[in-house]
């Protein structure tokens, strides 16, 4: 049943941390908790597993390995949460903008896909905070174009379309450029984050801005071709997406996160993905 074709690529790739099969709980000190298990919605209890919708194109938080296995920081962390409940997780790759609808419609039990918590989302579903991400800039090694986040006017900047960076962050900067009578930032919006990163690597753009975990990972992945520019700003929590009806379950998830934090699992998972700078402790439903 081996089939043809190889299972790994030679160049790069070596640095990507591997994880076990996605549906199996990751190894660690976490163990099931009967009190938490009682808070599980009936459907999950009956199935013995949580169906999670995720857009597996967002490295390092959730991405596909070996063509079918979803891995990443979000994955490891939520697998650990599920283990606290004594159930497994079925990761279903989906496109980002269909996940919340899928959770509302019962297609997924939970959505885990680097969702930034904000007022609109909180109106629609329960959001359980578990991580803090901000915006971070990156440039080519040595910053040859001399870009600065606050002085990007006239520079070409990569950004993924539809992200908060494109929709909220850059417009403010554009306005500043305009008010200062300087040339506008040349935006190079891309459908996918990896395309935006590729543009920066290939020199098509002078800088890139994205969620901090993504940028940190891209810097690591590209083996020194990129470097961080300035510090993380506009930090906001990521949240798990849970249906409005399952508030009790959402509360239980915060408890599970607290336990994971207490036993050190939380920290070690973040460290594994080079993301401990985003750790939080005040897990909450709809903060």
């Amino acid at each position: 049943a081996a089939g043809c074709g190889s299972n790994s690529l030679e160049n790069g790739g070596s640095s990507s941390p591997s994880s076990g099969p996605s549906s199996a709980p990751s190894s660690g000190p976490a163990s099931a908790d009967a009190e938490l298990a009682a808070a599980l919605p009936a459907k999950i209890k009956a199935a013995g597993k949580i169906v999670v919708g995720t857009d597996a194109t967002y490295r390092p938080n959730e991405f596909l390995q070996g063509g079918k296995t979803v891995v990443g920081m979000d994955v490891d962390l939520f697998n650990a949460v599920a283990q606290k409940f004594g159930v497994t997780v079925e990761w279903q790759p989906a496109t980002f903008n269909t996940i919340i609808t899928g959770v509302q419609g019962g297609k997924y039990d939970v959505g885990v896909s680097s969702f930034t918590i904000n007022a609109e989302r909180k109106k629609q579903v329960n959001m359980v905070s578990y991580f803090s991400a901000g915006t971070l800039w990156a440039t080519a090694k040595g910053n040859p174009k001399g870009v600065k986040a606050d002085q990007a006017c006239g520079k070409t900047v990569s950004v993924q379309t539809g992200t908060t960076q494109q929709l909220d962050d850059l417009p403010i900067r554009q306005k500043k450029c305009k008010d200062a009578g300087q040339p506008p930032i040349k935006e190079l919006p891309r459908d996918k984050q990896d395309q935006a990163t590729a543009d920066l690597v290939s020199g098509k753009s002078d800088a890139m801005l994205a969620d901090s975990p993504v940028v940190l990972d891209a810097i690591k992945q590209t083996n020194g071709q990129l470097e961080q520019l300035g510090e993380i700003y506009d930090a906001a929590p990521y949240g798990y997406v849970i249906p409005k009806a399952d508030t009790q379950f959402a509360q239980a998830v915060t408890k599970a996160l607290q336990e994971l934090n207490a036993d050190g699992t939380y920290k070690s998972i973040l460290q594994k993905w080079n993301n401990d700078s985003g750790a939080i402790t005040d897990y909450a439903v709809n903060p």
Binding site: C4, S6, F63, K68, D199, A218
Partner: protein, 323 residues
């Protein structure tokens, strides 16, 4: 032209003119066009060979990944085949309904075509995926034939490729095939209708006069002849479908060529080589399809003089049967 008039009488006197061995007409414009095309092709080849953006070694490595190959075979080729089966079958049915005397059947066919041609496949597939979860039973009841097909597929999948679990195959791929198939049926309905209308009415009447039932008339006489007109645009549709399988991610189904390649791209930040790899796969599949189309066209063109007739005498234009 006056020189002709003078040369003629002499010529006629000088014995009977023989073989014509004339200097052909020159087409300078045509050669310029060919030159321009040659330059463009040269530029393209130069670009392909020299531009580092292509990164050929990565392209071939990416193409040779096991999930990519299996995604191509199962997600892309198999879904294309199954969707086209549903689409062509449904399209022919819709065309027959549309051409029926019954205004209700014909109206339903029209509305179906109108609706499913309008709805983007991405949205349709997303909805199918959602429906699949809401009424799994309902769907399986609605299209027993497809389930049969998928059952067969499920088995073959288990036998040959072990990397997709059955559950995912049954929910995702079935929804994907139904969604793409329904959409395709709407397009195929128009194609099949045009094909059927192109068959001379005398053909159906001759068959009826022989005592054939309307079903037989359709299957044995009208459709085989309509195929001549149906096959070429169906080739277009199949090739388009091949690439539309990349929309399966909306269902979601990820065991498909483009998604698999993109997920490699995500890891290595090499977008362009990934696009090249996908294009090479689609080029290969398209080539095979075009060869298949050639043979299909030849098969259904038999007796229509699209090739040199084998008999001793070609048909007289006035005598060519109801063709």
């Amino acid at each position: 032209m006056t020189s002709d008039a003078q040369s003629r009488p002499q010529d006629a006197v000088a014995g009977r003119p023989g073989r014509i061995d004339a200097v052909p007409v020159r087409h300078p414009g045509r050669w310029v066009a060919i030159g321009v095309i040659a330059v463009l092709v040269g530029m393209l080849v130069h670009l392909l060979v020299t531009n580092k953006a292509f990164d050929w070694s990565f392209v071939f490595q990416a193409m040779n990944q096991q999930p990519v190959i299996s995604g191509f075979l199962k997600g892309t080729l198999l879904v294309t085949a199954l969707s086209m089966v549903v689409g062509v079958g449904g399209g022919v049915l819709l065309a027959v309904m549309r051409l029926s005397d019954n205004p209700i059947l014909s109206g339903v066919s029209w509305v179906f075509t109108w609706f499913f041609r309008s709805i983007p496949r991405y949205i349709l597939l997303f909805s199918m995926g959602t429906l699949g979860i809401l009424f799994p039973q309902g769907l399986s009841f609605g299209v027993p034939f497809d389930w049969k097909l998928m059952e067969w597929f499920g088995l073959s999948g288990d036998l040959r490729f072990l990397n997709l679990d059955a559950n995912q195959v049954f929910t995702g791929l079935v929804a994907g095939v139904i969604g793409l198939g329904l959409s395709e049926a709407a397009y195929m309905a128009e194609i099949a209708r045009a094909g059927m209308l192109s068959v001379d009415k005398g053909q159906a009447e001759a068959a009826q006069a022989l005592g054939m039932s309307s079903g037989k008339v359709m299957r044995r006489v009208v459709l085989p002849q309509a195929m001549r007109v149906i096959v070429p645009p169906t080739g277009n549709e199949t090739i388009a479908m091949l690439k539309d399988t990349s929309l399966l991610v909306a269902v979601p189904v990820i065991g498909e060529l483009f998604y698999q390649l993109q997920s490699i791209g995500t890891t290595y930040y090499k977008t362009f080589p990934i696009a090249v790899a996908a294009t090479l796969y689609y080029l290969a599949a398209t080539s095979v399809l075009m060869i298949g189309q050639y043979f299909l066209e030849r098969h259904f063109g038999r007796g229509f003089g699209t090739k040199a007739p084998r008999g001793p005498r070609a048909a007289r234009p006035a005598g060519a049967g109801g063709a």
